[in-house]
């Protein structure tokens, strides 16, 4: 134990000397969380749309007003003579509302006035949102200004759980938190370990009396401490700037956090042991820590959306399990019954990384 602590202390001293790595470790997670947490969003507001009122009756103008009042749309003027398609190719609007001639007359007769909405679907997700919002606006207008019945056979009462305001940053904030923890501790760990390989200081370790597992544990402990520092800084941000709080029992989250810190530090150490070149080790961490967690852990879009041929990979992505735990702790509050499996998996993946690193060390030791 004394040896492990001494090794951890040595490691922390070395990091303190490396200014670039230190700013990277403590400043970048915060910057990343603030930047990505606020900029990643799919909830569009004030989308520019053009309107063409070919009817120009009091009814059509009232419908247009309903669109003007919504926060989703922002009406930009467009001459009636120009085709609405031109607004899309010119990137001036994302949708065009066309009220057909005779809309007001049809409405007064008790029929159905025709309204068309043309949607630029080059961004398919936004296109779907536009469709949903415009349908809702027209339905609401029909109920108040049109002749739609106020008594529907079946009325839906939709309850939005866990995030009733549909605030995007509450969903992406915890995601970026996991991304930060998956990237920086292993990056530093890999750098430190590959430096030992690059500068041949590993030989000193071999001749000293410290066994391989204690050496590794000491290193991992140091990077777990760094992960803990990053964890606290980022959690503070989540609680303040992102307006989150524990939704239920936080103990699975706390246990998982310790295990996750161990898991990512072991991952970095393993890569560093396998790749004795700092530049190459950075790229390897960027691939595993960033790309896998960013793409295959459900950070932006649900994992279920990934096509089957690729989705099975996400079962091995450690960030995915932690992401579910963090979101559960801060939003859903499912607690142990919902999350015990994820906690176990993180522990297993972490142990595998540790064993691989240990085996690599042993091999190198024996080969000298």
């Amino acid at each position: 134990m004394r040896r492990i602590l001494a090794q951890a202390r040595k490691e922390l001293i070395q990091i303190r000397r490396d200014k670039l790595a230190l700013t990277l470790a403590l400043l970048l997670p915060v910057g990343l969380l603030l930047l990505l947490g606020t900029s990643i969003s799919l909830s569009v507001t004030e989308l520019p749309i053009v309107v063409q009122d070919l009817d120009n009756s009091s009814a059509s103008r009232s419908l247009l007003d309903a669109f003007r009042q919504s926060i989703t749309f922002h009406v930009v003027p467009w001459p009636v003579t120009k085709p609405p398609m031109a607004a899309f190719t010119a990137n001036q609007a994302r949708a065009a509302l066309v009220i057909e001639h005779g809309f007001g007359r049809e409405l007064a007769r008790g029929g159905a006035g025709q309204v068309q909405i043309l949607i630029d679907a080059s961004d398919s997700n936004t296109a779907k949102l536009i469709q949903g919002y415009s349908t809702q606006i027209v339905a609401a207008w029909n109920r108040t200004a049109g002749g739609a019945q106020r008594l529907l056979p079946v009325k839906s009462h939709i309850r939005l759980w866990y995030n009733p305001g549909r605030v995007t940053k509450k969903f992406y904030g915890p995601g970026i938190f996991v991304l930060g923890l998956s990237m920086f501790p292993p990056l530093l760990a890999a750098l430190a370990m590959s430096r030992e390989g690059e500068q041949q200081t590993l030989l000193q370790v071999y001749v000293s009396s410290i066994p391989a597992h204690q050496f590794l544990l000491g290193k991992i402990l140091a990077f777990m401490a760094i992960a803990a520092a990053e964890w606290s800084i980022m959690m503070t941000l989540l609680f303040t700037f992102f307006d989150l709080s524990f939704a239920g029992d936080p103990t699975p989250f706390l246990v998982a956090s310790v295990l996750y810190a161990f898991c990512v530090s072991s991952y970095g150490t393993m890569l560093g042991a396998a790749i004795p070149s700092q530049a190459a080790a950075i790229q390897a961490v960027a691939l595993g820590g960033f790309l896998l967690v960013f793409l295959l852990s459900g950070l932006i879009f649900p994992v279920e959306n990934i096509p089957g041929g690729l989705r099975w990979l996400s079962n091995f992505v450690w960030g995915r399990y932690y992401m579910e735990i963090v979101r559960d702790a801060l939003l859903e509050g499912g607690g142990w019954p919902a999350m015990w499996f994820n906690v176990v998996v993180i522990g297993i993946i972490g142990s595998v990384f540790f064993l691989l690193a240990w085996r690599k060390m042993r091999r190198m030791q024996l080969s000298i």
Binding site: L32, Q116, I117, S124, T135, R150, I158, K170, P302, A338
Partner: protein, 378 residues
């Protein structure tokens, strides 16, 4: 100078890692981003609590689960059990049909149906909400027309007090009627790839000379600093342009994105984007002495560059104060150019402001990096 360029080519040819980083990351990134970042919302798991067990309630459930947006995830005996499973993440949504639904419908009273959505993911929730309202709205219309329900509904439906009709909205999706999600992501990733990969390759090549300590040897050649710089940049530029062609082919073959406009506009934008990347990489390399430092520097530059680009998520969804920042980002302009030119067929007459902006940014970055590089050589 020709000799210098030949030397650069020979060096790149011998550098296996550089060669790999020209081919593997573009392929990997395009494929991974294109397939993994999928915004489609379908097959949401719907838990069902049916207290009524009548033909009407079953018909309503069938309407919900047949839409493709939801799939049945089993029946629950109570709303509490359903709520528990939503919080455990076993189902994404739930519908609760009350006792007396059928009775109410036949008596001419409005029946209330509760729909629970896990809104943790705001985007999924917004789209699922739209789906639900659409499905129930259609169900209401169909039932009213069929006349199966109590006469009170249809009386009110057909003879409104004010004798007014309703507005019927017909949506039409242009340019991407199949709503293929990857068309947006792939066209965005293209720009990310060119700039970020360009900067990575360039900084690696520049730092290499530094690390090996051969900068002095370069200075001793009769070539001027300007020539040295051009000789450094030109081969990288040519190689990266090769990557552009390769990536374009991948976009066409794998993702089957339509090329509706002029491909030359896209290539022009891509060339500028690559130059931007090289300039950024060169600039960063002048601040560093080792490959390790150069790579760590990219951790500071790449996140803002990629997140403020609108490449993966729409710019309109960012906070309003943030949106103007994207205007100085080359990737944003390139994204606008590729999407407009490829998907919508826009021409130069429309895209010139973006091309001009991209060219301006490229020029500023190039001048800046050449100035730093010269200063260092001197």
């Amino acid at each position: 100078m020709a000799a210098l360029i030949a030397k650069e080519f020979a060096q790149i040819g011998r550098d296996k890692r550089l060669r790999i980083s020209l081919i593997v990351p573009p392929v990997l990134q395009l494929l991974l981003f294109g397939f993994a970042l999928n915004a489609t919302v379908d097959n949401l798991r719907l838990g069902i609590v049916d207290f009524d067990r009548s033909p009407e309630s079953r018909d309503l459930i069938a309407a919900m689960t047949q839409s493709g947006a939801f799939k049945s995830a089993g029946a629950y005996a109570s709303a509490e059990k359903l709520g528990e499973d939503i919080s455990r993440g076993k189902v994404d949504a739930g519908i609760v049909l009350p006792v007396g639904l059928s009775r109410d419908l036949h008596r001419g009273q409005q029946a209330d149906v509760q729909v629970l959505l896990n809104a943790m993911n705001a985007n999924t929730a917004a789209i699922a909400q739209g789906y639900t309202e659409g499905v129930l709205g259609t169900w209401n219309q169909v039932k009213l027309k069929s006349g199966e329900l109590h006469a009170r509904f249809s009386q009110i439906g057909s003879a409104p007090r004010n004798l007014r009709g309703i507005a019927a909205l017909h949506p039409a999706f242009l340019f991407n009627p199949g709503l293929v999600s990857s068309w947006f992501v792939v066209t965005g990733t293209f720009g990310l790839l060119l700039t970020l990969n360009g900067s990575l390759v360039a900084s690696a090549a520049m730092v290499k000379e530094r690390e090996a300590g051969t900068v002095e040897q370069l200075l001793m050649t009769p070539a001027g600093t300007g020539e040295i710089i051009v000789a450094k940049i030109a081969p990288l530029f040519l190689l990266l342009c090769g990557m552009v062609l390769f990536a374009t082919a991948l976009i066409k073959v794998v993702f089957q994105i339509p090329f509706r406009g002029n491909l030359l506009i896209v290539f022009l934008g891509a060339a500028l984007c690559v130059l931007c990347g090289i300039a950024i990489g060169t600039f960063l390399a002048t601040f560093t002495r080792t490959a390790r430092q150069a790579q760590l520097m990219s951790f500071f530059v790449n996140p803002p560059l990629s997140s403020l680009s609108g490449a993966l998520t729409p710019v309109e969804a960012m906070p309003h104060w943030m949106q103007p920042l994207t205007l100085v980002n080359p990737i944003r302009h390139f994204g606008v150019i590729t999407r407009a030119a490829l998907l919508k067929g826009s021409g130069l007459d429309i895209l010139w402001p973006n091309i001009l902006a991209l060219a301006g940014i490229t020029l500023v970055l190039l001048v800046l990096s050449v100035w730093r590089f010269r200063k260092q050589l001197g």
